[in-house]
Symmetry: C2
Subunit: 324 residues, 2 copies
Amino acid sequence: MIKVGIVGYGNLGRGVCLAVNKAKDLECVGIFTRRDPSSISPVINYPVYSTSELEKFKGKVDVLILCGGSATDLPNNTANILKDFNTVDSFDNHGKIPEYYSKLEKVAKDNGTLSAISIGWDPGMFSIARMLFGAVLPDGNDYTFWGKGVSQGHSDAIRRIEGVKNAIQYTIPKEDALDRVRNGENPELSAREKHLRECFVAVEDGADKARIENEIKTMPNYFEPYDTIVNFVSEEEVKKMQQKLSHGGFVIRSGKTTEENSEILELSLKLESNPEFTGSVLTAYARAVARLSKEGKSGVVTVFDVPIKYLSPLSEEELRAHLL
Amino acid sequence: MIKVGIVGYGNLGRGVCLAVNKAKDLECVGIFTRRDPSSISPVINYPVYSTSELEKFKGKVDVLILCGGSATDLPNNTANILKDFNTVDSFDNHGKIPEYYSKLEKVAKDNGTLSAISIGWDPGMFSIARMLFGAVLPDGNDYTFWGKGVSQGHSDAIRRIEGVKNAIQYTIPKEDALDRVRNGENPELSAREKHLRECFVAVEDGADKARIENEIKTMPNYFEPYDTIVNFVSEEEVKKMQQKLSHGGFVIRSGKTTEENSEILELSLKLESNPEFTGSVLTAYARAVARLSKEGKSGVVTVFDVPIKYLSPLSEEELRAHLL
């Protein structure tokens, strides 16, 4: 059995719990939280400890699944944890991946540990599609569309506007753009042509809705480059929408093998629960990290480095006989 | 530069020529044929040799891309070639992969060579999807649909019927079944429910069309388990259809992360040229075989064993910075 620990218990930690529980070759030694452990009732009945107790588990856990955020948790904590443990995380700040990688690579090599970073669906599954599609169809373009799903960053940006009580923002891929890409047109697409932004906003009593709508629609980077729809709804409606964590998206590569012949490759995900699916991907890569570490591998790996056979509980013979 | 040789010059060999020509880090030492080399004018102006001259190239080529068929060419020849060369092939007889693997594994290990087998889109890209999707979404089912595209085996079967001059058979996925799978219904689908078979048949003058249609529709395994449409057309029409080598298909996995939440993962390919795309995949894996062999790896590998970074001409740093 592979022994895993789960660090952090928000939506993602909950998703990891569920995924570890489904994996017959994994056992969970515990959930580690910065909150009062007694305040947490995990979805699966695993023991809950304070993160301050982590060091007692050194040598007793094959891999820690880090469920913190990419803004501060992972950049601040992973390097320190990696001194004593193998880790897997979902670091998703694309622009800062090289810096994060370099920092962790040194720690991992110095300590003989192994870390899989940026695991999930984007980065993760979508990265595999972008890289693989580009390698097998070099003369072409790739397009990533996200949604329909909630963007936390855009929702937060709306909530910072004066007079807004609560808000949620959906990123929606435009069907017309998807169709053009799927038809092999290889279009140049602006941000506005690819995605629509739809906002549901609850405001304070007497707030100036026209001003708020204008502030949203003209917000640089976040909304100005897009067509944005603003709906004013009750706070209850926003809260209800916040319960549903569906998401998804598309990676499409369109390219030519000759002047005459186009080939279109597409990966699409339709997720009813973004954190449950991300937790499930993290769990499969936790299995890979435990195995690779046992083979003596150290350092930092991404989805580009890990042979996919390591993700499966099946033997190599079974994989070749049934899935090839 | 990675030095490749191309063994066999049919539709697939032609596709490999085109793909190697697009790869700036690969050079082609030659095309090897069992036919008279002077009878071949390759699509790219690479030198053409007789396969009997292959042995002169020992030590002068990093990997041979084998473009023979899976019925006899590859089972008969790969083991012998593998004594002296690294290879990559598109062996696609799914049921015989374990046997093919075992035979080659011994030869490769004894001779320190490396062979990537069953590379293409199915097996190949579709195998990656089946394995990866299953690992990250274990509680679910996967479905592979092929088409619309030509099945050579079914076309051959029709041509063996008395009175048939020529024929082509298209395998067509049923939209209704695709929709049910994409909706997360997790249906149990019979062969008849998944695919339709449409045949275009040219017959001898005075042939009994009713008998031929009946013989096709009742042919065990090939057509009996399916809804089959038979169209009688001229030989010219069949020949024209045989020029177009488009194909494609879908791998869809539908599964649950909890009782409430379904997740749907889908890979789809829409190929205007099946052999050109397959040749392009083989070429990317030829790059991987050359690199892995240089690192000292020997034996037999499949798409499950090769980290995808080896397929790309980009550096690991570039991949992390731009595609993760």
